[in-house]
């Protein structure tokens, strides 16, 4: 942020939003369309090559400014997050509704050719994710006590559990794909991978925010609002997982 | 509340008129297309009445209350609590009453539209990009919809590729045609004539050209056509020939 006093007037500026937006454009729509619509791997890689650094740079600047409290900080993040989560809930509701509609209207479920999906991995995943919610809560506690070291180690542990969760997802996917159960195998495959994958993407975003919290924390800087918000988001992702487990695995 | 009484009279007239027409009286077949024309007229009168009341009020007030000096201030009333409720609830109930009136008539006509008369001729319709195909009970197929005049016709429709919509403007009816489901509609060609069916769900480049003739033939003529067209070999025609669907190669 900089406050140029060119006209004697002060206007807040930040380069982060534009960078993030341009980064989004270059990192997702253009490479995706290049590869899938126009079948040009080169162009896709090219766009990714520019887009991802721009996006990451934008996010880095954003987090920096946020941690440094450089902007007009009104401190409403913790009020706004539930509002945002409302819309997230509706995305998941949209996906689950589609799943319910398809499943309840199907003549037989699961459709022929679906493998048996074991319950061991999802149970372990549930335990891992719940534990990570607890460890993050403990991290917050440490931070409130002013114990920076404890905060960092609990945060690190949370991150690790998140990575384990994603690792388990990948294990499960590769096992199922080995059994020829792919997203295009049948309608159950489509729903299974879309919903679990969409949830996994949320876990990934959660981990991204944790990294964004951890990196400055290593240098001893934090922003309590940010830490709290990352936590609420993580708990939300955790709760969604219960629905994924009950609807996809146990039903 | 003069406006309310206008509505009431309109409502009373239409409430008695529409069901009477829709049920056709004495064993006749109720023709939804005719019901449509009647209901449309009633709805137009209703909406025109509402629109006129509000439009005239707006025009009158816009002219009457033009500011006479650049410093003038409006003198609109400040409402008491009872007035607040009154000005909200009374109009709300009037509007709701009109909605119910419209809904009741709409529903009556809807029932006519969806109740297929017993002796209706059944034709299978298959849509594909970008043509209509008609198949009769005896296996006859055609790309012109031939129907006997004086007998209701029910269509059971499905699509081979994308969503299309079967629209018969003359008979005031349409229904979408899609893969994986069978939809139906019926219509009543009272007299011999000619019309056309056209596609009203966007289905690609030739959407605008996806039309077919409808021949409403005198019963005898229709029967002889049907008998001659219905050769036992015909049933194989339903989408079985790979070269039969020029639009299928997308």
């Amino acid at each position: 942020m900089s406050a140029h006093a060119t006209t004697g007037q002060h206007w807040d500026t930040s380069v982060a939003p534009l960078l993030v937006a341009v980064g989004c454009l270059l990192a997702v729509p253009l490479p995706f369309a290049s590869y899938f619509q126009y079948h040009s791997l080169g162009m896709a890689v090219g766009f990714l090559g520019i887009g991802v650094p721009v996006l990451l740079a934008g996010i880095a600047v954003w987090v920096q400014e946020g941690i440094a409290q450089k902007h007009d900080q009104f401190g409403y993040s913790q009020m706004a997050l539930p509002i945002f989560i409302t819309s997230e809930v509706l995305i998941f509701l949209g996906l689950f509704t589609s799943y319910w509609a398809l499943r309840l209207l199907a003549p037989a479920w699961p459709p022929a050719g679906s493998p048996h999906i074991g319950l061991t991995i999802p149970i372990i995943m549930t335990i891992v994710l719940v534990t990570s919610s607890v460890t993050y809560h403990m991290a917050e506690g440490k931070l409130e006590e002013g114990d920076m070291g404890g905060f960092r180690s609990m945060l690190g542990l949370t991150l690790l559990l998140g990575v384990v969760f994603l690792g388990l997802t990948i294990t499960e996917y590769s096992h199922l794909i080995g059994e020829k159960f792919t997203p295009s195998a049948n309608i159950f495959g489509s729903a299974f991978y879309s919903i679990t994958g969409f949830h996994a993407a949320h876990v990934l975003i959660g981990l991204g925010t944790f990294i964004a919290v951890l990196l400055p924390a290593l240098k001893g800087k934090t922003n309590m609002d940010f830490v709290k918000c990352a936590g609420v988001y993580w708990h939300f992702v955790d709760i969604v997982w219960f629905f994924v487990v009950s609807q996809i695995y146990f039903w | 509340m003069r406006y309310f009484s206008v509505l009431r009279i309109l409502g009373a007239v239409a409430l008695t008129a529409v069901p009477a027409l829709a049920s056709g009286g004495g064993g006749e077949i109720a023709d939804p297309a005719h019901g449509w024309d009647v209901l449309w007229e009633h709805v137009l009168i209703d909406l025109f009445a509402i629109g006129a009341v509000f439009a005239v009020a707006a025009a009158y007030w816009l002219i009457k209350y033009k500011a006479d000096s650049p410093t003038a201030v409006g003198t609109g009333p400040t409402l008491s609590r009872a007035q607040m409720f009154g000005w909200a609830l009374i109009p709300a109930f009037i509007f709701m009453a009109d909605d119910f009136y419209l809904a009741a008539n709409g529903w009556t006509l809807w029932n006519t539209y969806r109740t297929v008369p017993k002796d209706a001729l059944e034709v299978k319709v298959t849509a594909s990009m970008w043509q209509w195909n008609f198949e009769y009970d005896n296996g006859a197929t055609s790309d012109v919809l031939k129907v006997p005049a004086g007998r209701p016709v029910v269509l059971r429709m499905t699509s081979e590729d994308v969503v299309h919509s079967f629209f018969l403007p003359k008979h005031r009816v349409k229904e979408d045609v899609m893969p994986g489901r069978v939809t139906y509609l019926w219509f009543y060609p009272k007299e011999a004539g000619k019309t056309y069916v056209t596609c009203t769900e966007f289905c690609g480049a030739q959407h605008a050209e996806m039309s077919a003739d409808v021949e409403e033939l005198p019963a005898a003529e229709f029967n002889s056509w049907l008998a001659s067209a219905g050769t036992p070999a015909a049933p194989a025609a339903t989408g079985a020939q790979p070269d039969a669907a020029p639009g299928g190669a997308l």
């Binding site: 206007w11 807040d12 500026t13 930040s14 939003p17 534009l18 993030v20 989004c24 454009l25 729509p29 369309a33 007009d72 706004a80 945002f84 409302t86 819309s87 509701l93 509704t97 398809l102 997203p183 295009s184 309608i187 489509s190 991978y193 879309s194 | 709805v43 909406l47 509402i50 209350y65 500011a67 650049p70 003198t75 609109g76 009333p77 607040m84 000005w87 909200a88 109009p91 709300a92 909605d99 809904a103 709409g106 529903w107 006509l109 809807w110 539209y113 590729d161 994308v162 969503v163 629209f167 009816v173 229904e175 899609m178 596609c199 009203t200 966007f202 690609g204 480049a205 605008a208 997308l250």
Partner: protein, 520 residues
């Protein structure tokens, strides 16, 4: 320059939204002219092949809704006015606000690529599968336009809801807010809840087309109607994301120019909230001919008709505001007054569409074009245009040319009526279908199409004059007096024109008997 593109100030963000949405409108409007030229006569005319017409129409519909009206109202008007009206320095999250802005612009960029890429999207703004999956056109760009603008809307909604809830000037109660703030509050709740469902729907479309899933593939257990239901579950409420803020803004214009406070404000607020409650239960009225179960079609006919109750309450307030007013007619009020009639025309023609049985003939005909152009393309767009005139002195500190403004108004107003009345008639009379570049079956409709095309040319002239007026006056116009309309709302009484960063010289507080409509 740097202070503009990197800005986080809500007013500049708002103006950049206006620039983006007017750009989308201009390009989409030029597409409309091409559409009208193509429909002038039956048969292929100006388009080189049917698909070209389809890409024009795709861009026209998508850009007008997603690029012009939603950003124009929830982007431009909301950004510029909300913090000023509630007496706040800025929005709750200025940088997030700038991010919404630029995501919207990226969405416009993806949409504009339609004109340069091979295999441009040709799936209409509704994007129904299986066609959108089978086509060789670039469905991905449709999906990403929706994603970018959708994500921008969600962030905007979060930001403004937080701002409205927590950042009102000390002392400002809920029932002291401007009608526009209320309309945006309710409209954004709709946006927050329903946009995600659209995002989910188009994402599944993307998966189906490019990643081989089967959600909408009937042959593999998917369901064609699933998409239509998800899409309209969002897209019907989307029309109220447009309609609510448009009504709110209209109230600001009408109330200030009649020097009357909004009639029965409390009922008006209840009406707006009622519309939010009902809007999620009516989407099947877009699927009356789609083979949905009969009982759902009937149920939603009733709920759809009931929309006229909350809207009717709002209409009573709107009309009541005129009563015993002291009305001054500037260009903003010209648009405001015209909107009263456009609202009746567009809204009441929704009623036969809402009646399932009547819709069996009217669905997908040009009667629907006339309905939604009058209520959306004209009513809501006129509110946006009127509000730009109305807030012009505030935004630029300069005055537009009144005579030119009125001239362009008359061209626009007469022009749209000449354009869209014929479409009503041929829709009912001949069942003129939508999305037809050719109407060889209906040669009788040709003269009507001629008239409609002439009307569109008239509108083009009016719009051009309007844009010239804005651009010229913003640079060269005479200095405007402070508060030329004698408004009592905070943005006029407490802030300079144009307002500086931070908006108010001193923090604003209001007393319990303050209202933004206390005219003197």
């Amino acid at each position: 320059m740097k202070e503009w593109i990197f800005t986080t100030d809500h007013k500049r963000v708002g103006i950049l939204y206006l620039v983006g949405s007017m750009a989308a409108f201009a390009v989409a409007g030029i597409m409309a002219l091409l559409i009208r030229a193509e429909q002038f006569n039956p048969g292929l005319g100006v388009a080189s092949e049917p698909t070209q017409y389809n890409t024009w129409l795709y861009f026209h519909g998508a850009a007008m809704i997603l690029g012009f009206l939603i950003p124009g109202l929830t982007g431009f008007a909301a950004n510029y006015l909300i913090p000023l009206m509630i007496g706040a320095k800025d929005v709750a999250f200025p940088r997030l606000n700038a991010l919404s802005l630029w995501l919207f612009w990226m969405g416009i960029v993806v949409a504009l690529l339609t004109f340069v890429i091979p295999d441009a999207p040709d799936i209409m703004w509704t994007g129904y599968p299986p066609y959108s999956i089978k086509t060789s056109g670039n469905t991905a760009f449709y999906v990403f336009t929706v994603h970018l603008i959708g994500f921008s809307s969600i962030l905007g909604a979060v930001n403004f809801l937080t701002t409205i809830i927590y950042m009102r000037a000390p002392g400002m109660g809920w029932m002291q807010m401007n009608v526009f703030v209320w309309s945006l509050f309710t409209g954004l709740i709709v946006q927050l809840i329903f946009v995600p469902v659209l995002a989910a729907a188009v994402t599944l479309l993307l998966f189906d087309k490019y990643l081989g899933t089967h959600f909408f593939d009937a042959a593999a257990g998917g369901d064609v109607l699933l998409y239509q239901n998800l899409f309209w579950f969002y897209s019907h409420p989307a029309v109220y994301v447009i309609f609510l803020p448009a009504m709110g803004l209209l109230f600001e214009i009408i109330s200030t120019n009649t020097k009357n406070r909004p009639f029965n404000y409390n009922a008006l607020v209840v009406g707006m909230c009622g519309l939010v409650l009902i809007t999620g239960e009516v989407w099947v009225h877009h699927l009356y001919t789609s083979g949905m179960p009969d009982w759902i079609r009937i149920g939603q006919m009733l709920t759809t008709l009931m929309i006229s109750v909350p809207v009717g309450v709002m209409v009573m307030s709107l009309w009541g505001t005129l009563y015993k007013g002291a009305i001054s007619f500037n260009t903003g009020m010209y648009y405001g007054a015209a909107c009263l009639f456009l609202l009746l025309l567009g809204g009441l023609t929704g009623i036969p569409l809402a009646m399932t049985a009547l819709d069996l003939h009217l669905a997908e005909t040009s009667f629907i074009h006339a309905h939604f152009h009058f209520i959306m393309g004209i009513f809501a767009a006129f509110v946006v245009f009127g509000s730009v005139f109305f807030y012009f002195p505030k935004m630029t500190g300069r005055m537009y040319n009144e005579a030119l403004g009125k001239l362009s108004f008359w061209l626009n107003f007469i022009g749209v009526n000449v354009t869209f009345w014929p479409l009503f008639i041929i829709g009912v009379k001949y069942g003129m279908p939508r999305r037809y570049y050719d109407y060889a079956r209906i040669p009788e409709a040709t003269p009507y199409h001629h008239v409609a095309t002439y009307g569109a040319i008239m509108v083009a002239l009016g719009i051009t004059l309007m844009l010239v007026n804005w651009i010229y006056s913003a640079i060269k116009g005479p200095k405007a007096v402070e508060n030329p309309w004698r408004s009592a709302s905070l943005e006029w009484t407490h802030a300079a024109s144009p307002p500086p960063h931070g908006n108010f010289a001193a923090p604003v507080t209001v007393s319990s008997d303050w209202t933004p409509y206390n005219y003197k």
